[in-house]
Subunit: 365 residues, 2 copies
C-alpha cells in the first residue's frame, strides 16, 4: 500500500473511526484501525458490537491494506505538520509515515484477520436529518440504564409509526422520551440500539439538516451519511412497555424557568456531594413559589424560585442528579413540571407541543 | 461576626488564600479558611509552611471570626448568584451564608486554634515588579528538585548582589538560571524559597508592572502586594554551588528556532511514551541542520530542522522531557544551544543578553 492524503482529512477520518475502537482489547487487532487503499482510502474501526467505516479522498499509488494501532497512529497524525501525509506499507507490515521533514516507522498488523463489518440489507430504510437525530439522542441518552442485569435497558428504543418516530430510554428510576415527525410514512416497528452506539453517533453527526439513512435489519442497524457508515448490533428482547407508567393526569402543574432551577439544584448538590450519604433534595411547591432545600451532615441549603403554579401544595424528594440531567436535556427556557402525590413520578414537558417527556421517580425523605 | 461583601470580591479572595490550604490535613482547622472581620474582612489560609492573607473591602456589621472548610465555602461562593453575600456566624460557629434567594448553613470551627502567620520584620526589603518576579519563577520552577533526600534542591535559590537578582533551580540533571536587574542596589545575600511557595505565588501575582515587596528575615520571606500578604518558610542549608558547573566555553553553537524544535521533540515523545522503557532522543547536529531521532519498541521517528550551526558535528542523547521543559520556558523565538562533547551538558541561552541559562545533562545512548 502506498498513498498520500491531506493531514487534516486523514485526522478527521481517524477521529471518527477511532470512536469504535476499544483502547484495551484481548485481540490487538481490535485496538487498531484498518487502512484499505483502492479507489480511495477506507478507514475502519470496530469493537465487534460497533463498526465505523469512513471513506477519504486520497491519492493511491499502490493498493493494499494494513492495521495500525489506533492510539499511536492517531497521536502521530495529530502531531504532524499541516501538509500532505505519505503512508507506505513495507515488509512485514512495517509502515512508513512521512510528512514535511518528519518520518515515522511503526509496526503494522496483517489486515487479514480484521473483522468484516456485518452486511446490512438496504430494504428497510428510514431517512432523518442529522440535527434531528442528534437532538433525539442528546435528549434521551442520559436515562439509558447501566445495569448489566437488565441488558435491554442499556439501549434506547427507537419506535416508528407512520411519520412519527420516538426515542425512549428508561433506567428503572426515570424515563426520557423524545418525539419527532419524519418527512415520509414508515411501517410500524421498533428496535433497541445500544447506548454506546448512540453516544458515539451523537459525537460524529453534525448539527445540520443533511440527511442520514438508517437501514434496519433484524440484528443490525446501519447509519449512512456523508462519507461514513456506522454498523451497530441491536439489543435483542422486548423493551419495557413504558407507555402505561407515564401519568396521563396531574394534580399540580408548575411552569418553571429551567436555568435558575438548574443553578439552584447545583447549589444543593454542593452539600450533598460533600457528604458520604446520598441525601435527596426536597422540592416544596407553594402558591407561585418553588422552594428547594436539603440537609446533610455538612449543613443545610435553601433556595426559592418564582414559578407559576396550578394546583395544591406539595412536598416531594428527588435524587438531585436525575432532576438535573432531565432539566439540562430540555434545551428550552421554560418547562412544565407535573406532579400527583409525593410518591408518584414527576413529569417534565415542554410548554408547547409534546416533543419530549421526562419522568422521574421520587425518593422518600 | 456579621458582614456583607460583593460575591466576586469574596470569590477572588477565596481563590487566592485557598492556594495555601491543604485539601487533606491531619488538623481539620488547616483545611479551613479563617474569616476575620474588623475594619474590613481578612481571609487567611495556611499549611504552616505557607500562609496567605488577603484583605477584602466588606461592610462589617459585627466584628468576629470563624474558620470555614475551604473547599465547601469556596464551592458555595462560586455557585452563588452575582450579588451581595451576607455572612453571619451564629451559635457554635454555625455560619449562615445568604445571597439572593439562596441560603446556606454550614458548620464553622472556633478560630482560636487557627495558626497565626509568622511575624516578619520589614528591615530587609527588596522591591521588584510583579511581572518580572512572575517571569523569573516561570522560567526556573520546572527545574526544581522533587527528591526528599536533597531537600534544599526542592526550592529555588534567590541571589542578590548590587542591583542584580538571580533565581536558580537545580535538580541534579538540569539547571535553570534567570537574571534580572532591579531599580535599587541591595546587599549581597541569598535565600532558598520552597518550590511550592513559588508555584502558588506565580499563580497569584499578575503580569503587570505593579510593585511587590519581599521582606526577608532569617527564617521567612514575606511577599506583600495589592491586598495580599504571603508568608513562606525558607529552606535552611547551603544551596548547590552551581556556578562552576555551567561551561564557560563551547565547541559547537547552534541557533535554533524554538517552536519547530518543540514540535519535533513532542513528536518523538509519542513513540517514547507508548513504550515501557525510557528511551533517550538523539540529537545529531551537522552543517546547518539538526536531526532528531528516536527508536523504541513501538517504532522509529526521525525529524530534521534547519539551523545555523557554528562548530563541528555532534551526536548527543537527552531525556526528551528535560529538553522540552527548558525550551518551553525560554519564551522566545530563537535560542542558542551550546555543546562541547556528547558527555558534557548542553546550555540553552538567549540570542541576546544573558537573562536565562538552561543547562541539561546528556544521557548515554
Amino acid at each position: 500500500m502506498k498513498i498520500s492524503c491531506d493531514k487534516n482529512v486523514l485526522l478527521e477520518g481517524i477521529n471518527i473511526v477511532q470512536k469504535a475502537v476499544s483502547p484495551k482489547s484481548t485481540m490487538p487487532i481490535l485496538e487498531g484501525i484498518l487502512l484499505e487503499a483502492s479507489d480511495n482510502l477506507k478507514l475502519v474501526g470496530s469493537d465487534l458490537d460497533l463498526g465505523i467505516e469512513c471513506y477519504l479522498s486520497a491519492f493511491v499509488e499502490e493498493e493494499g491494506a494494513v492495521v495500525l494501532n489506533a492510539r499511536i497512529f492517531g497521536e502521530i497524525v495529530r502531531r504532524l505538520p499541516d501538509d500532505v501525509v505519505y503512508i507506505e506499507v513495507l515488509e512485514n507490515y512495517n509502515t512508513n509515515i512521512k510528512c514535511g521533514n518528519t518520518e515515522f516507522n511503526i509496526m503494522g498488523i496483517n489486515p487479514i484477520e480484521f473483522p468484516e463489518l456485518p452486511k446490512v440489507q438496504k430494504e428497510n430504510t428510514i431517512i432523518i436529518t442529522q440535527d434531528k437525530l442528534r437532538s433525539m439522542i442528546r435528549q434521551t441518552i442520559f436515562a439509558v440504564g447501566t445495569k448489566e442485569s437488565k441488558i435491554i435497558l442499556t439501549g434506547s428504543c427507537l419506535e416508528l409509526d407512520g411519520n412519527e418516530i420516538n426515542m425512549v430510554s428508561v433506567d428503572g428510576y426515570r424515563l426520557a422520551l423524545r418525539k419527532e415527525i419524519l418527512d415520509s410514512v414508515y411501517e410500524k416497528q421498533s428496535i433497541v440500539i445500544p447506548g454506546k452506539t448512540l453516544n458515539e453517533l451523537a459525537k460524529i453527526i453534525k448539527e445540520e439538516e443533511k440527511k442520514i439513512s438508517l437501514h434496519i435489519s433484524p440484528k443490525h442497524v446501519l447509519f449512512e451519511f456523508d462519507e461514513c457508515r456506522i454498523v451497530s448490533r441491536l439489543l435483542e428482547g422486548e423493551f419495557l412497555n413504558y407507555k402505561h407508567i407515564i401519568p396521563k393526569e396531574y394534580q399540580l402543574r408548575v411552569k418553571v424557568k429551567v436555568k435558575p432551577m438548574i443553578e439552584a439544584i447545583e447549589r444543593c448538590a454542593l452539600i450533598i456531594l460533600s457528604d458520604t450519604q446520598k441525601h435527596p433534595i426536597i422540592i416544596s411547591i407553594g402558591t407561585d413559589v418553588i422552594n428547594i432545600s436539603c440537609r446533610t451532615q455538612t449543613g443545610t441549603v435553601y433556595d426559592s424560585l418564582d414559578a407559576e403554579t396550578y394546583g395544591s401544595d406539595l412536598q416531594i424528594g428527588f435524587n438531585y442528579k436525575y432532576l438535573l440531567e432531565a432539566l439540562k436535556a430540555c434545551e428550552c427556557e421554560e418547562v412544565y413540571m407535573e406532579f400527583n402525590t409525593s410518591l408518584s413520578p414527576c413529569v417534565i414537558k415542554p410548554i408547547e407541543g409534546d416533543s419530549f417527556t421526562h419522568l422521574i421517580l421520587p425518593v422518600r425523605f
